[in-house]
């Protein structure tokens, strides 16, 4: 059965950043240079072709864009400047919008304004709610204890609520990703024990991002900096998330007022270092666009991500310092500002690039399962071919 191509698809894809894909004439240099492309998962060439032809079903059921970490070598090499690396990035954006059942992600990618309105709207609601809560129950000049402007048990509950909302959306989207790639996209039923066999790849890739480290650079003598920084940023983020969701009470204040609780705070400081380094590194590289090709093109959604994170980290640090210095009123104000940024950040996550925190390790895991299936399938068809002969 012939597949209908969709020449209109290219217009849709423009909005996700794949502006140059039609320049590709399929020489395959990109797949040849890629450190991760192999016989089972061949990219970016095949994905470029599917995009050009608008084979939507094929694109939404493939894991290949997630197997690329955008080292940018393909784009450097491309004889037609079709920018395969950026195309893979755009595909990931498109896939995020496809996995997202609410349509919010798609809206964000299509219009900058909608994303800014969403973020500002949630920020205002959060601010209003927290000030209302604080002024109606607590003391503006108290930071710790029961009389506090924002008591930590309340913040804990508030965080958990927002966190659950985020997890709710992420889980459904991740489930859709699994459904597209492992049910809709494959012709045979995948046995359950393969999922068990490869389960370890999920935490392994989540915590090490080992594949990113094996991206090659032209400068072989040095460590691959984007990987180290990316890993630091991610670990910082995850640690912070765990602290906020589980240990906010210990984290926010000690039993006898504002003192350092090293058992918890050491993690907080480490996370802050990871996050700050990452943010500074990304901002600098995206501004000077010289060293690594993957920072050359920045989608509007990428800037929203970086700026929000910068504001969160800065307000978090200021709030911490003010609190330790005993300037409680200002600590309270900055705390609210901090949360004004945190809440839209968390509620934006399932609909943005940051969702790759979940999608990418999941893709590594599902790809390991698929690889097993494909290798077996190939071996089987080969043996059949020989016996027919």
């Amino acid at each position: 059965m012939a597949i209908r191509i969709n020449p209109k698809f290219i217009d849709d894809l423009d909005r996700f950043g794949a502006e140059d894909v039609q320049l590709c004439y399929q020489c395959g240099d990109c797949s040849a240079i890629c450190a991760h492309s192999d016989e089972i998962f061949t990219f970016p060439r095949k994905s470029m072709r599917r995009l050009q032809m608008g084979l939507e079903r094929k694109i939404e059921t493939t894991l290949e864009p997630w197997l690329c970490y955008y080292c940018g070598q393909c784009s450097d090499l491309c004889p037609r400047e079709a920018d395969p690396g950026e195309t893979m990035m755009s595909l990931r954006r498109w896939l995020i919008s496809r996995y997202d059942f609410t349509g919010i992600a798609r809206q964000f990618y299509k219009s900058k304004a909608s994303e800014i309105i969403y973020v500002i709207g949630i920020a205002l609601l959060t601010g209003l709610f927290l000030f209302y809560y604080g002024f109606s129950r607590g003391d503006f000049h108290v930071y710790d204890g029961k009389e506090a402007f924002l008591p930590s048990p309340f913040i804990h509950a508030f965080d958990l609520m927002i966190g659950s909302l985020m997890v709710f959306f992420l889980a459904i989207n991740a489930f859709r990703m699994w459904y597209f790639t492992m049910i809709k996209g494959v012709t045979i039923k995948i046995p359950w024990w393969l999922y068990v066999k490869h389960l370890f790849t999920l935490p392994w890739h989540f915590f090490t991002q080992q594949r990113y480290a094996s991206c090659e650079t032209s400068d072989k003598s040095k460590l691959y900096m984007p990987w180290i920084v990316h890993l630091g940023l991610m670990l910082g983020y995850v640690i912070m998330l765990v602290l906020v969701m589980g240990f906010i009470e210990q984290f926010q204040y000690g039993p006898e007022g504002p003192e350092i609780n090293w058992g918890v705070h050491i993690f907080g400081y480490l996370a802050t270092i990871g996050l700050s380094t990452g943010i500074i590194y990304f901002i600098l590289n995206r501004l000077n666009k010289k060293k690594y090709i993957q920072y050359k093109k920045t989608h509007s959604t990428d800037w929203v991500f970086i700026i929000l994170l910068l504001l969160i980290v800065v307000t978090g640090i200021v709030q911490h310092i003010l609190h330790r210095m005993g300037i409680n009123m200002w600590a309270n104000i900055i705390y609210v500002v901090h949360l004004i940024f945190v809440v839209p950040w968390l509620l934006r996550m399932p609909f943005s690039k940051w969702a790759h925190l979940v999608y990418r390790p999941l893709a590594m895991y599902l790809a390991a399962v698929q690889r097993d299936v494909k290798v077996k399938q190939e071996a089987l068809s080969k043996s059949l071919f020989i016996s027919v002969k």
Partner: protein, 580 residues
Amino acid sequence: MEDCRIGVYICNCGTNIAKTIDVEAVQKYVSTLPHVVLAHSYKYMCSNPGQEMIVKDIKENNINRVVVAACSPNMHERTFRSALIKAGINQYLFEMANIREQCSWVHDDNNEATEKAMDLTRAAIKRVELHEPLESMTVDMCPASLVIGGGIAGMTAALELADAGYMVHLVEKEDHLGGNLVRVDLTAPYLYSAHDLLTERITRILNNKLVHLHLNSKVTNLTGFVGNFRATIQQQNGQVFEKPNEVQIGNVVVCTGYKEFDASRITHYGYGKLPNVITSFELERMIRAGRIETKDGKIPKYVAIIHCVGSRSMEFHAYCSRVCCMTALKYVHEIKSANPQSYISDVYVDMHAFGKGHEDFYRRSSEAKTLFLMYEKNDRPVIRRGDPKDDCEMLIEVNERLSGEQIEIPADLIVLMVGMEAREDSGEVARLVNISQDKEGWFIESHPKLEPVATTTEGIFIAGTCVAPKDIPDTVAQARATAARILAKISKGKIEVDAVYSEVNEEICSGCRLCNKLCPFSAIEFNEEKKHSHVISALCKACGVCVAACPSSALKGRHFTDAQLLAQIDGLINTFQCAE
């Protein structure tokens, strides 16, 4: 016969000959043969010292026959003949023995190769004894030319000749000049207007008194030979045949062009049945009319362009038509600028972007968001009508090579890039001017690389798309090349005819006319009055077919007489009597 004094020279050709053949043994051996006055071997006979050695020996030792055992005569016969001329003896008193290409290069056994070299040299010695001095003749060159075909090639050649101050008869069978280019709107890759290219030329032709334009005309007869042709030009106005016009010319340029492939021959493209499947020339007409639309007047949302229609297929024409790829890309730009909302699929086999500016043009077409889809040349797309629920009128089913997918391409308008083929009357033209055609009907050039516009008939030149498919720059270059060749001949005034040709002994000739039919160059005429055949020496290429065929041995090949050839054979099989 005067005393026969032969000088033999054996070339080492560096080591090319000497490493296989014992050159000194050959030299010693041939010096013992009768009439051989001297024999030398030398490192490079073709070098200046080598030639000077021959000149010196002729002068000092009264040598009157020369044999050089070296490479192929194709390589250096001319070199050594000029040495003879320099020394003051007739150039035909010379023979070459090929002991390189036909001996040292192809044999491993040194002893056998040496023996063979001796045999070959001996055969040449035996032959050269019977060589006669021959003189080449000259004939006058008529400075007027005939150009057949009034397209871009014919007009360019005619103008080039007329601008040099010589008369040209330009014959065009249509009632207007311009040829196939008249039907084209813009040209690839720089999007120049074809109309502008033509009008400048047409105006100049019409205003040039040296160009005699014959519209609605055909050349019906051509006789004579290079420098002295007579052509009959027949004009036809409607059904009325005007009085034939006979002209005297020295050279002929044939630029009769091409015709487009008939797309209805490929049945599964549905051309002629599906209303919105059109050929590239029909699209040109739409573009010139200023509106690209479907038969029911709608703007097509999806346009598909199919390449290689009739070209590059074993079933129709195996060759590439050369211009269609870039023309298709030109349509991409023209369609996009007319209907920016249209989606264009370009269904191609290979993108041949060989010329100047072509690769860049291809890139710009990609930037215009054209979807390029590749098919295998022997697995052609199939066109069918779409269902009412589809948002397109037709669907093209094709096995897309770059993705490996069997796909359907939506289309409202399908443009078939029809290839070029030889005109149906090309055979007639070929017979008229006595040139050959290849199996596809294209005229054959005398050498594809070194003589691209000359033919095997002297004085007949070919240019443009009657030779093979080509684009405008190549066509114009060829047209100018024919003019350059002709002007070189005209400026010389006379043409030298090689002294080697066949002759009819009129006493013996019975007038059977067998040779007239066999001659591949139409060089033999029949004299009705005297009832015997006659060789036009200017046309004869000395192939020898007539000599072999003549039942009464009335034909003699000059420089290839029976006696000379038999002597050579005698020499080869060693009937020399050493005691003689």
